[in-house]
Amino acid sequence: MTVATPPEIQSAIPRLQPSGWIRYFSFSVDHKVIGLQYLVCGFAFYLVGGALAGAIRTELASPVSDFMARDVYNQVLTLHGTVMIFLWIVPVVNGAFGNYLIPFYVGARDMAFPRLNAVAFWLIPPAGLMLITSYFLTGAAQSGWTAYPPLSITTPATGQVIWILSVLLLGGSSIFGGINFIATILKLRRPGLKLMQLPMYCWAMLGTSILVVLSTPVLAGTLVLLSFDIVAHTGFFNPGLGGNVVVYQHLFWFYSHPAVYIMVLPAFGLVSEILPVHARKPLFGYVTMVYSIMAIVGLGLIVWAHHMFTSGTPPWMRLFFTIATAFIAVPTGIKFFNWLATIWGGRITLNSAMLFSCGFIVNFVLGGITGVALAQVPFDIHVHDTYFVVAHFHYIVFGGSVFVVFASVYHWYPKFTGRMLHEGLGRLHCALTFIGFNLCFGPQHWLGLNGMPRRVAEYDPQFTLINQISSVGALLMAISTLPFLWNVVQSAISGPLAGDNPWNALTPEWLTSSPPPVENWVGEAPLVEEPYGYGVPIDQLDLAAASGRDLWSIGK
């Protein structure tokens, strides 16, 4: 635990930590610096992953393989998946916002293990650079982000081994982060702050971190065995040496299905923070929200084989995993209905943060509906490994998590920088992203149902038009990042000053200056027992008189 040093002593001793802009490039142990390091680093990798996606959509604009060599195409799709999952979504929804917000939410001055926290971040840039440079030096891995053997054993070994090393480093980073979040949430809470008074994002991060700690080591072990098969010619997964390729799939998905929840649960938490502030209402059903997060964590660990319905799996296993998977829709549905009830009857400000959050709800509902369908074995057998699945999981991780990342940037940017973003550019960004996203991935449902498998560089010419529509959508998505980038850079320099609490929010990160001082608060941390105490009781409702600022300033 970090001990607060009185300011007069602090100024007398030489600082061990750099200050000013240089700290963002240093081994800083300040959770806010680390959070922003995760965010900006993740966004840089998002641009790389997006460029790779652009290459894929360019190749698929025509039905023949004419834009790049076929093995390069497989490298590109492998890198796209790996970069987007391990270098963008997981680090940003967990590492970036988790590090920035969790210490505020529990009333602490930093994370439980600040140095471990910095180590966890600094594993990411080398891992990412290693992964990307492997493309230029030796050729990257080309067996997809799933790296199924025997394909991953028979494709060029160097790229595959570098891929394994990179994912191991990123998995290690993720485990360090998970341990840190669990310790911080359970052990560093300000005296007097009860678990059931925590903002919902804390619960989401607690659940996510439990998943990280339980499942990521399984992936690490599996990849170590896979690397033995490649380098030392062992036979764990090599059928030629008596190994079993389906065992790899079980082990891989034991991590990689929970990984979906590692990517969306924090997003659920962030949305639960954003909606009440901009709808000026309490979060609806706090207790059921907490239970549904924990139910998703529990169920998320026992559904992995739904990725393997066409592999060698016995009928009873298919039946069990169908039912377990479909039941995840129940706690997830509770969360969505609670969000709808949160905005029902509110005073909704339709700003960029709110619009991106609502875009998330629309996209994720569609992704959830196709997810319940995919859980049904007979349905899945036709569409497994097709563009239907590609559309489904992009609706979950892009339409879900990435929309929430943008909503969160618009919501917390005033806190990060002390300045407001330009609202018009934000809405333009939201509109372009929403249209481009749905144009890109909506038609892919049809492609999958009608016979286009995933991970192909060439396809049946009857699918040309739909693929071109999809590529236009991808182009729109690429264009949509331009107003965002301009907005973020320009507003940091000359945006209007935000003040401490531009949204009149009640959660603790807003009860300090923007940007906050090094140890978060001057003086004691505030005790926030009602993080969602917005709104007026129904019997006192006076439509014109009370304002959010009034309520906030009387300490409601």
Partner: protein, 290 residues
């Protein structure tokens, strides 16, 4: 519930022109929603033509899932858009919304309803899967009377194989070998090896599949069937084609650079036409089990 009623009366006041009680409005909206979902499920067809006995069963399931999905999606998105418009902050409004922190009956309602829907969908799809023959256990007993069970220790995992087909002497056995980047079909009865799969209509076909190098997947979109072809672990898949014509066989599991080009064709022919094809290609005397 008082809070909720008060909220309802509040919304009613805001919609000053509408004097219809909100319960009736909700009921009518719900009926319109369900009817439009049913209409969408009935009239929009997203699937390719069905050419196997499996396909109509699959399409039935798809229609049910599509209808339920459409109702949920339109309902939730409609509610969201309505809320955003109705409850948006007007310029003259400074106050907060209403402090409603929860509503237990409502929360129980929207936990129970999805749970029931999920249970229904799960049982229904189990029934569909059973009708497709997916619940037949394969392995030792399943393979015991099979003509091609050359090694009884071998454990064979299956995909769809309808009960009528399994161990049926009437079924046409075909051995499928998948390799980078082609499918090879071998008819043990006539010792025919072909790059295209020729099958007679309305006769069960049992594929015994093995991969030479990496994992492939055998997919015929028009048959609604798919099964991974796994090295070191033979798999089995049965189907009955019903509609003569040529349909693509697609490899659905990433298998290397030419994965997208790993395609073949299944030709479904009238039994007489198929018999002629079989006899002209058979190496041995060529009599079929029919």
């Amino acid at each position: 519930m008082e809070q909720w009623d008060a909220l309802h009366s509040l919304t009613r006041d805001w919609a000053s022109s509408m004097q219809i009680p909100s319960a009736i409005v909700t009921l009518i909206l719900g009926m319109i929603l369900v009817l439009s979902g049913l209409w969408i499920g009935q009239s929009i067809n997203l699937l390719p033509v069905g050419a196997s006995a499996n396909a109509p069963i699959y399409d039935e399931l798809f229609q049910v899932l599509f209808t339920i999905g459409a109702i949920l999606f339109i309902g939730i998105v409609g509610l969201l858009i309505f809320s955003l418009i109705r409850f948006r902050r007007r310029n003259d409004q400074l106050g907060d919304g209403i402090a409603i922190e929860g509503n237990l009956p409502l929360e129980i309602f929207w936990t129970a309803v999805p749970a029931v829907v999920i249970l229904f969908v799960g049982l229904y799809s189990y029934d569909i899967y059973d009708r497709m023959g997916g619940m037949v256990p394969l392995g030792h007993e399943g393979m015991a009377h099979h003509a091609m069970a050359d090694s009884s220790e071998e454990r064979i995992w299956g995909g769809l194989s309808s009960k009528a087909v399994d161990g049926d002497a009437f079924a046409l056995p075909v051995e499928v070998t998948a390799m980078q980047f082609a499918f090879l079909f071998h008819y043990p009865e006539g010792d025919i090896t072909a790059g295209e799969l020729h099958v007679p209509a309305n006769r069960p076909v049992t594929l015994r599949m093995e991969a030479k190098d990496v994992i492939h997947a055998f997919w015929v979109p028009e048959f609604r069937i798919k099964q991974d072809v796994i090295p070191g672990q033979p798999t089995q898949l049965s189907f009955t084609a019903t509609r003569p014509g040529s349909y693509p066989i697609v490899c659905a599991e990433l298998c290397g650079p030419y994965h997208g080009g790993m395609r073949s064709t299944v030709v479904v022919e009238e039994p007489e036409v198929w018999e002629a094809w079989f006899n002209s290609n058979a190496k041995s005397d060529g009599s079929t089990t029919t």
